[in-house]
Symmetry: C2
Subunit: 442 residues, 2 copies
């Protein structure tokens, strides 16, 4: 009894940090499939993957003061006395990357980044503190063609992830700026944008109160609310928003650019259930956006929030270089998407390759045949092949094969005679080793 | 002047931490190809990918006191007062994972892990502090079949990475234990193993001095040195080592198991230039190994050190669970391999898909044709397709296409007439949009 207690006392409880999750094989297989589809689609659209470190100088990642308060980073002083942090998103590292390697890149530069980010956010904002983000950005170009390419890319990519119907909701900061000008709203627009952003969370009345708190007059507030109210229903057109924005600032130019952009997006065939639509209620609270902004909702589960968002910025790397680098980008939140998929039937994702189990014979000469056979099947097919890792009874090995979901089991009777059992039909046939790879048709 | 100076003063120098590197598109493309080949080969051998977090409780990662002093982890107190660290390797997280999810896994469990690890090591030990490791482990099984499967897996995987000829050098802790017993070396063997491990770095004389420093007698030292000296030449056999080990402890059993294991490895056809061989000088300084241990050297560049290593352990997760979990595993150091490849001709790796550039026409109707055409080519081929992201002269767009290495350039003259320029031959042909996807043969 004393020994057991002592042993138990020494054990460390195996656990992960809150918000940090392991992936069991099923989930990890989904991750692999989705990441490859995303990366392949990005690459097919001419985006080139790059990679930046998980850890950077804190001063690099802190960014502008305006955003700093929102970021809860994992930051610390390393053993060399440097203040460092784990990256919070992929945008700031991209800006640093582009500024640092400016001379080696050819602009317009289409960058793809797929990687983890870490956020010490208040837990209520999501259950993950370690997230996979997939970003695509065109840097050093402006105009309706690039904006359309990003939206087409995001639409084509999401359509391959098995998430069901989705809607990409697009607005434009230039329209909002024109609206504010028309309504006489002056000064810093970020707080107003953030208030608008909360529309789906806190409702019209809540936004109204927030705007009043920012000092807007009832007339200003009703102009804003009338405008964003257009977005709650489907089918809103640029003609609908024109009265609010066309006469003010660059509102007219923006309407024209957006008209062309939507035409370009429409020119590309879309997968069923995927749509790109104007939505005046989309604001995005980040202060670096200067043109289109977008968010993406699942049609059946809008309450999950945006699974992909982004927009156009005027000056990506202004903190790090004097070179003016405008661009447009989109980010897919893979962790959130995987959370959605975890509750769905994944049979359409085809994440698993059929398994062939080679039973280990009791004789060492036959075990050599088994190893060779496994290698030949692997070389000649897309099957997964496992040699039973031990020396147990045939019955126990069959039980293991069954539990692992093996599609075929190969039993070696003698060097020239392999019993191939089809675990689905239950039927067994006998083949020579040379015939086996060709005989397995899952 | 004053303005410029002020602007310059505010810029943050874009830089990465020492030992942390960006990957430019060429390098990132190599990473993708290699990671996919490794993962696919692991999966073909029945290993199931899992994932663990980058950040864990420090007490989990610290492991046993014996190893702790070697680990320079990025550790810190998070904002919730928890001591946490970035993972230093994939083995300790695997142990924690297996203990935590024991009830959900089916043993023997074949785990694959591909991911980053972070090491604050003294810089002279390598230029990377952020490394990609690719680990495969069979947990809950022992014996020559599993040992052979790991070696066959590592050999098959490395053979696909374009690294040239390599040699997997295998030894066994049971042989070393028997040697020590025969030579009368008693007590903790880890310091002796670590001294042996330095043979290639500090030479025979250096090892001799270290062993003397550990209190070994000249007779003990010469027994050790005679044994490890067998390993420096190729072609050493189990018969050669037998006199040193067969009479002692489990030396005889180990020789028998190794004989079968090498037979099983030999039974599987190997790629040219890849070999698995006995090497009595391989020790591996980690105290958890209890059976085979291996390291892997490039034949042409042995000075680079091991690109893959691993071995058998008796008790993977003893810190976290009372369940006895023996296993065997191998780890591929992808960062080191990428460092090797960076200095070689990578044309054989086929990392890039040919690029098609669609020139943006001056007319908005034709731009819609361009977008549609790009989508059709992407859908019907494996080509990368980029629509020129701006509205510039045809000459400037051709120059960009050329600089980006485009294989084909598509210019839209009117909605029914596309000029396809083959950038390799310089020839141009005219097609309808429907004909274009079928007309591009890189």
């Amino acid at each position: 009894m004393t020994d057991t207690t002592d042993a138990a006392r020494q054990l460390i409880t195996p656990r992960t940090l809150r918000g940090f999750n392991d992936m069991l094989p099923e989930e990890a297989a989904v991750r692999t499939v989705l990441l490859r589809r995303i990366e392949d689609t990005f690459v097919a659209h001419g985006f080139q993957p790059i990679a930046t470190p998980a850890l950077e100088y804190l001063e690099i990642l802190e960014g502008k003061g305006g955003e700093q308060t929102d970021k809860e980073m994992f930051e610390f002083e390393d053993k060399g006395g440097r203040w460092v942090a784990m990256r919070y998103d992929l945008t700031v590292p991209l800006a640093r990357f582009v500024a640092e390697h400016e001379g080696k890149l050819r602009f317009p530069f289409r960058a793809a980044q797929l990687g983890y980010v870490w956020r010490g956010d208040r837990p209520q904002r999501g259950r993950y503190r370690e997230l996979i983000q997939c970003d695509a950005d065109v840097i050093g170009a402006t105009g309706p063609v690039v904006d359309a390419e990003i939206l087409v890319l995001i639409r084509a990519t999401l359509a391959q992830l098995g998430i069901g119907d989705f809607r990409i909701r697009v607005n434009d900061r230039r329209l909002l700026d024109a609206l504010f000008e028309g309504a006489g709203i002056q000064g810093e627009s970020t707080p107003v944008l953030r208030a608008i952003d909360k529309l789906e969370k806190i409702g019209t009345h809540g936004v109204e109160q927030e705007l009043a708190g920012l000092g807007l007059t009832p007339e200003m507030i009703s102009a804003v609310l009338d405008f964003v109210a257009l977005g709650s229903g489907a089918g809103v057109t640029l003609d609908d928003v024109a009265p609010f924005v066309a006469p003010y600032g660059s509102g007219g130019d923006a309407l024209e650019a957006l008209a062309e952009m939507f035409d370009l997006v429409e020119a590309v065939p879309a997968a069923p259930g995927s749509s790109v639509a104007l939505d005046p209620s989309i604001a995005r609270g980040l202060d670096y956006y200067t043109g289109i902004v977008y968010e993406t909702m699942l049609v059946d589960e809008p309450e999950l929030g945006s699974i992909s968002s982004g927009g156009r910025y005027d000056d990506l790397a202004g903190l790090f270089t004097k070179t003016h680098l405008p661009g447009v980008g989109g980010s897919i939140g893979l962790s959130r998407i995987m959370g959605v998929l975890a509750e769905r039937d994944l049979s359409g994702l085809d994440t698993r390759r059929p398994l062939v189990m080679v039973v280990t014979p009791p004789d060492s000469q036959l075990r050599m045949v088994a190893m060779r056979l496994a290698a030949d099947v692997r070389a000649g097919s897309d099957l997964r092949v496992e040699v039973y890792p031990g020396q147990h009874s045939h019955k126990r090995q069959m039980k293991y094969a069954n539990a692992k979901g093996a599609r075929f089991v190969l039993t070696i009777d003698d060097p020239d005679s392999i019993v191939v059992k089809d675990m689905e039909s239950g039927e067994s046939t006998v083949s020579t080793p040379a015939e086996v790879p060709g005989a397995l048709h899952p």
